[in-house]
Homo-oligomer: 233 residues x 2
């Protein structure tokens, strides 16, 4: 078994870490928080934050604990498990499984992050370590799907927002043009967003003041559960 000789010879059970792809819309682009590795393997490449479990801890609590060192946990508005990667050669010379999470941070917050971490646009990733590039792209696909049939936008939008702002968030995450007009009607009819009654003052060039909205809940709800084959009645 040559590939286990360096570190793990004799080991009968794999190591296990939790990772997170933390997304935020920054500068009108979907970005992910990456950490620049200081050690081999993959020194200088960018990797997802995470680390090992300690006893009596779930994977979810573990990734939240590790994230607390990179980004304030209270700022992660949504966290969900993506899957577990188990290719034997995903980590050179080390048998390690990784369970990856998708984390979302609302727009407008600027978390204090350590100097060796940086936000990177998901559609322009740098060289990534291990299989982390694949994981980031998988996380984006999960997010794109859920934007369509759930209220997950609450975790990317700021607490209150105009519809133009919400459209910008959706466009950044989906990667194509979205109509604010129709987005409003979809989310209102589903009961996902509600008007606050406030208005946002227009910019220096004038314009009608925008209504201010908020998401009704800050927990994931599937608002359009079945695409087709709905139950009768």
């Amino acid at each position: 078994m040559p590939q286990f000789s360096t570190v793990d010879s004799g080991r009968h059970s794999p190591a296990h870490i939790a990772l997170a792809a933390v997304f935020q819309v920054r500068d009108a682009r979907l970005q992910v928080l990456l950490w620049e590795r200081g050690r081999e393997p993959f020194r200088g490449a960018w990797s997802l934050p995470g680390g090992t479990l300690v006893p009596n801890e779930t994977l979810e609590r573990s990734i939240l604990r590790h994230l607390a060192m990179k980004v304030d946990v209270r700022e992660v508005a949504h966290l969900e498990q993506l899957g577990t990667w188990s290719e034997p050669d995903r980590h050179p010379g080390h048998w390690e499984l990784a369970t990856a999470y998708l984390g979302l941070v609302p727009r407008g917050i600027d978390p204090r992050v350590p100097p060796d971490t940086r936000w990177h646009a998901v559609d322009d990733l740098p060289a990534t370590a291990f299989d982390h590039g694949t994981i980031v792209l998988g996380a984006r696909e999960r997010l794109r799907g859920k934007l369509s049939y759930s209220n997950i936008g609450f975790a990317l939008a700021s607490e209150t927002f105009t519809l133009a702002e919400l459209r910008d968030v959706y466009e950044a995450a989906l990667g194509y043009d979205v109509s604010a007009t129709n987005l409003k009607r979809i989310l209102l009819r589903r009961g996902a967003i509600e008007a606050t009654g406030e208005r946002r003052a227009p910019g220096p060039a004038g314009g009608r003041p925008a209504e201010v909205f908020r998401f009704g809940t800050t927990r994931l709800e599937v608002t359009d559960p079945f695409a087709v084959l709905r139950p009768p009645m």
Copy 2:
């Protein structure tokens, strides 16, 4: 750390197993293959087949290897990862993570299974061991969602089928009435099924001979990718 004292005191990293909820439509009901435990804990309760990884093996290959001892692997038409369960007390006295898979066996096959395993209707589960009852129900929800927006029916239907037969499969998995008329049009328009040109002879009571269909591919394809918020044009 009282809960780790029996087996794992001093262990710094969790054990890991792969499990599978293998579903098949039998007697017009969605059923799952369960194994009756002969040992404590949960002696006499029913559990999902699976087991530990060996070095140089992915989770997927591991669960296929374990299933080969319960049900012929070639009969599993579809396999996908559901998630990893990590509650510290999910296994009494033992720190163990479990990655669960959904497996589907086409209708009509009757795999030879060992005497300590049995098929159980998913909507009438017996007492289950560990968190396996939760996993089975989660697997059913995953299946129900995918039946709606993908061609996953190929893995539950027999190789060729009439539309009445396919409707029965969908009804068993979804748990509500489905119209064969409309099911046909949905799956034909999406290009998921195609007519073979053959016909099925009617039963003793007569009736028009049924057209015979097949699924075009035996690989999962998302046939209705976005419920709403489709890309423009």
